[in-house]
Symmetry: C2
């Protein structure tokens, strides 16, 4: 892990930018850890949604909740052609979104992002020890998460959702979903205007694990109720033995 | 309320059989109340599933949890042609189930059971005071609950599920669902072998409230995970202001 800048501490959580190198790619990330962190405590991987970045509001809020309420560290990395992987820094969702389809049509994109996550996880565990690992990612966070979890036995619980057998990588998603065997909470928005509801239910259906639950609410793609979002950290903490 | 037999107290919960009379029908019920019950505390109505009765295991468990953990009283009544409404006492699920279709094909069945519930609620509130009211009922409990909630403004939160736009009263269920405006948690079993999944999702879709969430799990009709069943009392207590 190459640290970028100085760590910043706020109310018991230390946040620090890092880069890792993976197959010639610079992978920009953030590590959040509780000031009082135990060796081999759980670690959660936070995958942001499309057109956003590794420090999107709900990613930051979840990282802080995991650290403050549950003593759990977390890392986020920027997605393909997102955030600090971009020359423009990726802070304009319109510009980033315009590149979404091109980035995800690259034949190697899924394998590359899985490799990036594994490299970041290796680096974080070298820093923090090898506790249980969780994953949280909605929408594009699920496009990254399903292949990662299928390929990465260290991930033992996940919150996914707002994605379906849909988009440029749907065939890959379908195949990888069947290989997901850890407990999964899957969020769906009943009036999702981006990913059709039936496609979302298909992806839930396809998940290979029997330990899965679907939590669906009325509302559009980005209108997951605040209580459900707050419940993400609680669910992962319980699954990872830190409730 | 006409009390039947003596109350029985067990670990802080007093249980007593009662009858109420409604339009010439004898309606058999049970009241559970915490030993330390406050005036105007919440009350939950517990509607059992088809072929079961008012003291089915999960009804009893939910009543006790509501009383012990949340200080909430509850009542259950036997459904149409179920339990103590029957000459045989309704303890043989096979026999009771054989009469299910006939009972629910009676044109007046929905109106009758709604009236029975209202009468039981009136009687319970005369006893306990007029706190907030919740409803819990799965499967046939939802066939009773949806029309009741649509007609009964006192019910301000509900857990429903394992039922769809299906069965002899599906048209009535559809119309009444649209009139449900209180918060609802709706349980579905992904591999339900009795009520087809699509019909279940249609009923969830049809519920008029925006404050609804769908919790779906793999498994057959009666395989709702224990954690989800335990969560029923917690959800209702939170909604009724007693979490």
């Amino acid at each position: 892990m190459e640290w970028i800048g100085e760590p910043v501490s706020e109310r018991g959580v230390r946040e620090q930018r890092f880069d890792v190198q993976c197959e010639g790619r610079r992978v920009p990330g953030i590590l959040w850890r509780p000031d009082a962190s135990a060796e081999d405590a759980p670690l959660v991987l936070l995958g942001h949604g499309g057109s956003l970045h590794k420090r999107a509001d709900y990613i930051l809020a979840t990282a802080r909740r995991l650290a403050r309420h549950h003593g759990i560290s977390s890392i986020a990395i920027d997605g393909p052609a997102h955030g600090d992987r971009r020359a423009d820094g990726g802070r304009d969702p319109g510009k980033v979104g315009a590149d979404f389809d091109d980035a995800w049509r690259e034949p190697s994109v899924t394998d590359d992002i899985v490799a990036d996550w594994k490299t970041a996880l290796d680096a974080a565990q070298a820093e923090l020890g090898s506790g249980p690992v969780g994953y949280f990612g909605l929408s594009m966070g699920t496009m990254m998460g399903v292949p990662l979890i299928a390929a990465e036995p260290r991930v033992s619980a996940a919150v996914l959702g707002l994605m379906g057998l849909w988009g440029p990588t749907r065939a890959r998603l379908s195949a990888d979903a069947a290989r997901v065997t850890c407990p999964v909470r899957f969020l769906a928005q009943w009036d999702d205007e981006i990913v059709p509801r039936d496609r979302v239910l298909e992806l839930f259906d396809q998940l290979g694990t029997r330990r899965k639950s679907l939590h669906a609410h009325p509302g559009k793609h980005v209108e997951v109720p605040p209580d459900e979002m707050r419940g993400v950290a609680e669910f992962l903490a319980a699954q990872l033995g830190r409730s």
